[in-house]
């Protein structure tokens, strides 16, 4: 399964995931406390510098992920120019880009297994209340495995539809698609039980 982790190995890949997540929380809190545009611009520049440090390939991939923010940037700036409050708009936009950029950095430099270790650690107190955290890990593994499986089955359904009709399949295949997911769930449950259950 494709993940959002950067293929370019950076020094931050080795840092403990918990520390990175903690730092991200603190940084985001700070961002939402500061209202001066000059500071927000400085934070944003610092964030861009962090993207630039590991090299050009990393920066291109990383900043490409921020592209989804453009509609919001355009909308907010336009709105605030129309209401003659451009500075406030600028602060909002800079803060948004910095916050998303920093969070994206953590995702890019942390492997799924490291993230999962943090979740496991966070879930430890739940064990005292009788929650079996192992089933949580099994559920995660099932989703990771079955998302591509279901996607492939969905593509087969839509191909089968197109073999019979000139129109696009659209929502009509969602019903059989859900039936396939339900059947898979029943089969996997049976297989788990046959192997001794949870």
């Amino acid at each position: 399964m494709i993940s959002l982790t950067s293929p370019v190995e950076t020094r931050a890949h080795g840092w403990p995931a918990g520390a990175k997540l903690g730092a991200l929380c603190l940084a985001t809190l700070l961002l939402f406390r500061v209202e001066e545009p000059i500071w927000q611009a400085a934070f944003c520049a610092g964030m861009l510098l962090l993207y630039a440090l590991p090299g050009r390939a990393f920066m291109r991939v990383g900043l490409g992920r921020l592209r989804m923010l453009w509609p919001f940037v355009a909308l907010i700036l336009l709105w605030h120019i129309l209401t003659r409050d451009a500075v406030a708009g600028l602060v909002i936009v800079l803060r948004m880009i910095t916050a998303v950029g920093l969070a994206n950095l953590v995702t890019m430099t942390t492997k799924l297994s490291d993230m999962m270790a943090v979740v496991r650690w966070l879930a430890t107190p739940l064990r005292r209340f009788g929650v079996r955290t192992r089933s949580l890990e099994l559920a995660v593994a099932l989703v990771v495995r079955f998302t591509p499986v279901l996607t492939a089955k969905g593509q087969m359904l839509s191909l089968a539809w197109r073999a019979r009709s000139r129109k696009r399949a659209g929502w009509r295949i969602v019903m059989p698609f859900t039936v396939l997911a339900i059947d898979d769930a029943e089969h996997v449950a049976e297989a788990l039980r046959a192997r001794g259950g949870l």
Partner: protein, 181 residues
Amino acid sequence: MERNLTMIALFAALIAALGLIPKFTLGFGVPITAQSLGVMLCGTVLGAWRGGLAALLFVALVALGLPLLAGGRGGLGVFASPTVGFLVGFPIGAFVTGFIMDQWRSAPVGLAAGVSAVLGGILVVYAFGIFGMMMTLNKTLLEATLLVQAFIPGDLIKAVLAGFITSGLAKARPASVLSRS
């Protein structure tokens, strides 16, 4: 127990897979994906707890860094972006959808599913979504509502579809529509 777990996991995977189905565009140019239809189906098919947990599992995996959102987005960045509220609202919306579905057993499956999808999958999810926009973009309730209202017609269509699909599932796999069995 095994069945609950696999149903939750497979429906989380279903939400992800529905995000990959090509978008269809509404008459006035607003793209809609089937992803929120998946969230509604979690509630209408699995009921409150299992449906809510399936959507929660999906959101948790997005946070862990899997590109499961429509358009291959994901990671922690999504949780700092203006659309964060919708993501947070997914599990609660699925729970409310399932809760209404569980309670309103006297109604036909399709009707109950459609109505609970509107209340849980639209009303609750948008309440969180709009609150998220108010926080991240520093906007008032009215301004934030204006920003998202273009997507409401698409979601209403999805709620109707959720009704039809759930009623179809109740015929095709009656034992598996857990909210009614």
